[in-house]
């Protein structure tokens, strides 16, 4: 299997992806900001987790994913 081509581990949110600091996925843990190169991410298969709750739900009981956790209007949002 071909491994995804990712850049060096970067710090800080990926350009254009201002998101909550508590959003996490396995690809984020492994590749840092290169997580967008992960084939699972590109195929919309990523399981995101909220680091605060340890669940796929945020503290406000809303879903934890890249779409929902970029919404600065959520009560639990803390910008990365």
């Amino acid at each position: 299997m071909e491994l995804p081509q990712v850049g060096p581990h970067e710090v800080g949110p990926h350009a254009g992806l201002t998101r909550c600091i508590h959003l996490q996925s396995k690809a984020m843990a492994v590749y840092g900001e290169g997580f967008t190169a992960d084939p699972d991410f590109q195929n919309d298969l990523t399981d995101f987790t909220c680091l605060k709750t340890g669940r796929p739900l945020g503290p406000d009981n809303g879903p934890a994913n890249l779409t929902q956790c970029c919404n600065a209007e959520r009560d639990c949002y803390e910008e990365y």
Partner: protein
């Protein structure tokens, strides 16, 4: 997979006509996340497969979420991801959080409300094509004496000890949902509790729909007085946080009157612990008229497990159910969240 005839009607009446004529030999295909697995593993071998894809788009009643809280109607064809992210359903975190935690993104993007409520059970004996269990024409339920760590703990009077697999059923039960069911010649509405049954033999399903009936939509209409605040939440215990089934689940809904903290109209439902989703009147009675706190939540949790008769390998679920009920109650009350210790 056994060969079958595929139908893709473009109207609701077309679907109902095929179901009527098929006389129990057809399966309905919506998201397909359960049915296709069953067909590939020879658990289900329908002669006809009736897809809802052809009409679910234009037929808004089955594919949309509509209404104004507290009354909201969710089409049976609405995807789980759309339930999880719906603005209209925001006042019902018991439901949206349960939908957001089902399986993984792939399943949530394909699976539907109707599929969640009408799916077949996950018992490994039932799902093994080589095993003739009670639900497949056999003479016994192998889980009674076999591997039963994920099976029912409310087992009294049940020859088959599956757990009902729907994660959306308990929250819908506490929110007072009703189902709109249609057949070629009739239409009926039933409380969602009456949608489920404990199957005991071949040919019986985990739901009470006749073979020619289709679940079209589910309407949430919690009974709360004007000015009162609805509080609701679900809590699940899982082995993994994603791509897994809950081991136990609890949903709770109640209302508090303006300025008050006393729980009224309490409904508590338990999931994944019995062959049907269970309402727990005993737990609700303990909480009714009480201020919600650690003590009352724990008392309700103790009441919820009354009557549990676990099997040889699943007594651990009794303790987990207590935890789930207590945390669901406290979550609904807005008390200190469980993840803060």
């Amino acid at each position: 997979m056994k060969n079958f005839t595929y139908y893709q009607p473009t109207s609701l009446s077309g679907v109902l006509k095929v179901l009527d004529e098929a006389a129990g030999k057809a399966e309905i295909l919506a998201g397909g996340t359960d049915l296709l697995d069953r067909m590939k593993e020879y658990i289900s071998q329908p002669e006809k497969v009736v897809s809802l894809v052809g009409f679910s788009g234009p037929f808004k009643e089955i594919s949309s979420i509509a209404g104004h809280p507290p009354t909201v109607t969710i089409g049976a064809g609405v995807k789980l991801v759309n339930i999880a992210e719906s603005e209209l359903l925001r006042p019902y975190p018991a439901l949206t959080s349960a939908a957001a935690q089902i399986a993984g993104p792939q399943i949530r993007n394909m699976g539907t409300l109707g599929g969640s409520l009408c799916q077949r059970n996950r018992c490994w004996y039932f799902r093994d094509e080589h095993v003739q269990c009670l639900l497949k024409g056999g003479r016994r339920c192998f889980a009674h004496d076999g591997e039963n760590q994920y099976h029912a703990i409310f087992t009294q009077g049940h020859p088959c000890v599956i757990v009902h697999p729907s994660t959306l059923a308990p929250p819908l039960m506490v929110l007072g949902a009703t189902c709109d069911i249609r057949s070629h010649k009739a239409q009926r509405q039933i409380p969602i509790e009456q949608l489920f049954q404990a199957p005991v033999k071949d040919g019986q399903r985990e739901h009470t729909l006749a073979p020619n009936e289709l679940l079209v939509s589910v309407t949430i209409a919690p009974k709360i007085p004007p000015g009162a605040t609805l509080r609701n939440a679900s809590y699940e215990v899982k082995q993994k946080e994603t791509s897994d089934w809950p081991i136990v689940q609890a949903s709770v809904a109640y209302y508090t009157e303006a300025g008050g903290q006393v729980a009224k109209g309490v409904r508590i439902a338990l999931g994944h612990v019995a062959p049907t989703p269970l309402l727990s009147p005993a737990a609700a009675k303990v909480l009714e008229g009480q201020e919600v706190n650690e003590k009352t939540a724990s008392a309700a949790a103790e009441a919820a497990v009354e009557g549990a008769r676990p099997l040889s390998q699943n007594a651990y679920k009794v303790q987990q159910l207590k935890v789930a009920v207590r945390r669901a109650i406290l979550l609904a009350s807005g008390a200190k969240p469980y993840w803060e210790g």
